[in-house]
Subunit: 189 residues, 2 copies
DNA sequence: CGATGGCTTGAAATCTCTCAAAGAAAGTGG
DNA sequence: CCACTTTCTTTGAGAGATTTCAAGCCATCG
């Protein structure tokens, strides 16, 4: 993925949609299906985005030829899995405002890691309905929870851009621990 | 993992515990941390279990020497990730009885795949409190939801054993689609 | 300018949780 | 094998969180 904003999702038979992860430039979300026959989820763009395609066969051949490179890609999929795990915690164990705050913390750090933040603000072109699909909340409740975060002077969201006014308190409100993002990976194997 | 019943979990600062996945004999849950420096979750036994240990270094060396084997292990971690994704859907988008039903469907198929079911019943040594931690529900509500599933003649749970009385209706109640388990993998690469 | 999609608000209905207590089952030590 | 302790299951009832329904507002786009 080169540019824009993507997300993975699954439809639920009852008509709902569950968003499973957000992706920013530098991510390779499709790696999750490299060794699986069928894709069990969908991948959508939140805004106009630019992506590159690498045929699975070519990538598998490349990995066979260069095992250390394979490890790097493998590691990438393991980090995605760690993020999925944290999302289980998010929708399973946090109350509404914390769930939203947690997602904002995560997206902020992911964007910061690729230099796409602007000080304490970043592009966040996600509608409240989509936040609801990501957090397992109704749009109405998302709206009220965001108002709460705004009233607490933690963040503001307007015109597809989110600004973080108090990072420390936002982290605390989200019970956010960045360990699961495994970001300090420069030089890691 | 050779014998017993394991689960992955994460503690939440507020004192709660979120269970992230259940594991049965044949699984290799620790593969998730093969290429990560720090383990961001815990692994616990639900009952007395037998496990084997393979040093990460040895496994990485083995994978470098045999890329097709590495693919198999990699695939295993991707399936775990697919299960994590389905769990996000479970806690995020299903109502209480469906969440529990969904977990029962999953465990049943995983056990069946390794020949550990007995007809339509299987060992399920998980307390209602643990089911609550896995589904993001309180113990009390788990209890009432199980009673509902029982009253509907879908399942029964007693003495650490679960019996499925109506698989089709249970699947429907859980909106369970086994695709994400990627079980028909015999011979798959 | 009308139409669309997203945001906001109010109020009632529903789900789920917490608290509190009692009954049932399982494990421990004598 | 029994008494005791602990853990697990079950029940009731009130409190709290979240959803649904319904409507109005606002910005954007053709």
């Amino acid at each position: 993925m080169l540019e824009g904003f993507l997300f993975l999702y699954k439809m639920v038979p009852d008509g709902g949609r569950q968003i499973l992860s957000f992706h920013v430039p530098g991510d390779i979300p499709d790696l999750q299906s490299l060794h699986l026959r069928v894709m069990d989820h969908g991948l959508a763009t939140a805004i106009q985005s630019t992506v590159g395609f690498i045929p699975h066969d070519a990538l598998r051949t490349l990995c066979h030829a260069h095992p250390p490179l394979a490890d790097k890609f493998w590691r990438d999929t393991l980090i995605d899995a760690a993020i999925f795990r944290e999302w289980i915690v998010n929708v399973g164990s946090r109350e509404a405002p914390s769930r939203i705050a947690h997602i904002l913390c995560e997206v902020f750090l992911k964007l910061q890691a690729v230099g796409l933040t602007n000080g304490n603000s970043f592009e966040f072109p996600i509608t409240q309905g989509e936040i609801g699909d990501a957090t397992g909340l109704s749009t109405v409740h998302v709206n009220r929870s965001i108002q709460k975060l705004r009233a607490d002077k933690l963040i503001s969201i307007e015109k597809g851009r989110c600004t973080i006014w108090d990072w420390e308190r936002l982290k605390r409100a989200a019970t956010f621990d960045p360990t699961y993002l495994h970001l300090k990976s420069v030089g890691d194997e």
